[in-house]
Amino acid sequence: MEWREQPTEVQEQFAAGELEAFETLFRQFQADVYGWIVRIVRDPAAAEDLTVETFWRIYRARARFNPGRSFGAWARRIATNVALDYLKSARMREQPLDENLAAGSALKTGDGNPAIRREMRERTQLAFRQLPAKLRVVATLALIEERPHSEIADALNISTAAVKARLFRAVRLLRRKLGNLDMSHE
């Protein structure tokens, strides 16, 4: 996902607090920021609000922005933090894990029965939603969106090793929550 960069001049004007420069950057990057956020939170309506929240935080932090650096990378880092905050608050609002679904009696995904397939999807969704926000972001970007570890590390402002560690923990947690799910016949 390559984000189009603006000339440094516009970035300098933005850092100096010019609203017109901010509007130029907003129009340039709003689609990229939205696309990044919606892939993490997977809710288009929430992603629109979070995109505005991201640019609000960007505007307020303009004095800390270095015009010589990439605006896109900076915006993506802030967008990731905004999405992470949203996932944390959403997780707190959600219902506690349904023990019957979580207990994990063995289900074979290769089973042709549509009811079993549906139940397995529901269990997977639930287990995914129950992941801690930090692990869920990494699992979403690495497993579902197939983003490179280096890109995820940059967005989260952590090392590639930390991304791998979080991914490992996410996969282990998912497998534990999915119980004895047999995925080998899929």
Binding site: G35, R39, R42, W56, R121, E122, T140, I144, R175
Partner: protein
């Protein structure tokens, strides 16, 4: 955990969570402007609430004085 297991889990997640449309269908700048307006209103309210009560009392006395003695307005203006 081997790579095969991780890939199988990734496939399962993709099917369960489903794809998402990453295209933005509308301009969000008007929403951003509303955010600025809200901030301006909030700042105005904060500025007003930071005025000491004594200044408000003086203003009230002035308004009441003007209302009670309108003929005194030219005299006050002369002394300003």
């Amino acid at each position: 955990m081997n790579e095969h297991e991780q890939k199988t889990l990734a496939d399962l997640l993709k099917r369960s969570v489903g794809p998402v449309n990453g295209e933005l269908n509308r301009d969000l700048w008007p929403q951003m402007l509303r955010r600025f307006e809200e901030r301006d209103k909030r700042q105005w309210f904060i500025a007003m609430s930071s005025v000491p009560w004594f200044d408000w009392a003086l203003l009230a006395v002035l308004i009441l004085g003007v209302a009670a003695f309108p003929r005194a307005i030219p005299i006050w203006l002369y002394h300003l």
